[in-house]
């Protein structure tokens, strides 16, 4: 198969996933609303002192974003598995890793990207400075694709299992923690006026590593789950 037809297949999968998700718009909105609600509840719970909120903000924003990203994971393959389109994808005459990457990219555009775009608004609510807000956006832009990629392995491994949702969380949470630690600490560093370069470089390194390794693992997991 030539690269031209591979490009067409990738574009096809990507556009199809976006179209289907937009027609099931509640699926797209749920993680976003969850993110907004969790972050908005914190000032009510811990009190409105600006200093305390500023100190809590990096952790709160990152934990809420991480949980929101996890909430959407079962959507990645479960629907396609149920209606048989996933098994058709496995029979495509193209490298499954590339098609998996297209699906994960579509998933990120529908969950990660809206979280990144919404985060400055919620950061404002917690009183973050403009500089810290910038770091938050960059760290989420680097970190949420890693969350989608790691989540794709978990979603592929638990395909067709009962109670798969809980199992996915248990599988991916340990792998999510490094992203959470460096993501949140980059924003904390920005709040304290320190350099954020080291944290952001590490997040970028996670992203490169995840991009180059995880699609293979996800493709293999999908093949195993269809055996």
């Amino acid at each position: 198969m030539n690269p031209h037809s591979l490009a067409r297949a990738v574009l096809c999968v990507f556009r199809r996933d976006l179209t289907v998700a937009l027609r099931r718009s509640t699926d797209v909105l749920t993680p976003l609303i969850f993110f907004a609600i969790v972050v908005s509840l914190f000032p009510l719970g811990v009190g409105p002192e600006p200093a305390m909120l500023r100190a809590l903000a990096p952790g709160v924003l990152w934990v809420a974003a991480l949980l929101a990203a996890m909430l959407s994971l079962n959507r990645l393959f479960a629907n396609d598995h149920a209606d048989g389109t996933l098994e058709q994808l496995l029979l495509a005459p193209h490298p499954l890793t590339v098609l998996v990457l297209a699906k994960t990219a579509a998933h990120w555009v529908l969950t990660g990207l809206p979280l990144v775009l919404l985060s400055p608004l919620l950061a404002l609510q917690l009183g973050l400075s403009a500089e810290a807000m910038g770091t938050l956006v960059v760290s989420l832009a680097l970190g949420t694709p890693v969350l989608s990629l790691i989540g794709s392995v978990g979603a592929a491994l638990t395909l067709g299992l009962r109670g798969g949702g809980v199992l996915v969380s248990l599988l991916v949470l340990p792998l999510y923690t490094p992203v959470l630690i460096f993501g949140a600490s980059s924003v904390t560093a920005a709040v304290e006026g320190l350099s954020t370069e080291a944290h952001l470089s590490l997040l970028a390194a996670f992203l490169v590593l995840a991009l180059s390794l995880i699609p293979w693992a996800t493709a293999a997991a999908l093949r195993v789950s269809h055996d």
Binding site: R8, L91, H94, D227
Partner: protein
């Protein structure tokens, strides 16, 4: 073209069938029959390359299908128990996606007309009845332009007229030099072509 030699499949610890051999050439059809649970679907999934058989070999043009990978998948179209249709997409979009993934560029309307669904082309596929969904799944075969069709109970949920249409489409594919492996509980009304029968529970 497709050679199956001494194939054995198991499910769990239970052997389903042993020493199954057949060869399929251009323009031929293999009709697989057997009681429920005799391993028809397992055999078809092994032929698709989803699972590795417990013993024996499946060769395409002389090479094991697991070594061929994408080259074999490029020649193969499969319609299983699941139709592989997304309810949110319209009929046309479903076919366009199927063709795009198969690496083909196509006008979906010709295929829709052949299975008698052209009038529903712009509607979301979720409004279709079971039989209509089955027909849309079979229309996927027409847009994918593959040599080998592997069909799991293609006639299920089809009415008499649709069964006739389907038989005509299968005949046309064989006449064009295609190959078909299918399971069905019904007798086939495909004339003028070689039909090999394989019984799994004999």
């Amino acid at each position: 073209m497709l050679d199956v030699t001494n194939l054995a499949c198991v499910r769990g610890d239970r052997p389903l069938f042993n020493h199954l051999s057949f060869a399929l050439k251009a323009g031929e059809l293999v009709h697989i029959t057997g009681a429920n649970g005799s391993g028809k679907t397992t055999l078809l999934r092994a032929l698709c390359g989803f699972s590795r058989p417990a013993a024996g070999e499946i060769r395409w043009n002389g090479t094991d299908i697991h070594d061929l990978g994408d080259d074999y998948r490029g020649a193969l179209a499969y319609v299983g128990h699941l139709n592989g249709i997304q309810g949110e997409l319209t009929l046309r979009e479903n076919l366009r996606v199927a063709a795009g993934i198969a690496g083909q560029k196509t006008a979906p309307d010709t295929a829709l007309e052949q299975v008698g669904l052209l009038a529903y082309g712009g509607f979301p596929a979720k409004i279709l009845s079971q039989g209509q969904k089955r027909r849309l799944a079979l229309a996927r075969l027409l847009v994918a332009h593959k040599l080998l069709w592997i069909l799991d109970e293609p006639f299920s949920a089809l009415d008499a007229r649709s069964t006739e249409v389907m038989n005509a489409l299968l005949s046309a594919h064989l006449t064009a030099g295609g190959m078909i492996v299918l399971t069905s509980h019904q007798d086939l009304a495909i004339e003028l072509h070689t039909v090999l029968s394989v019984r799994l529970d004999s």
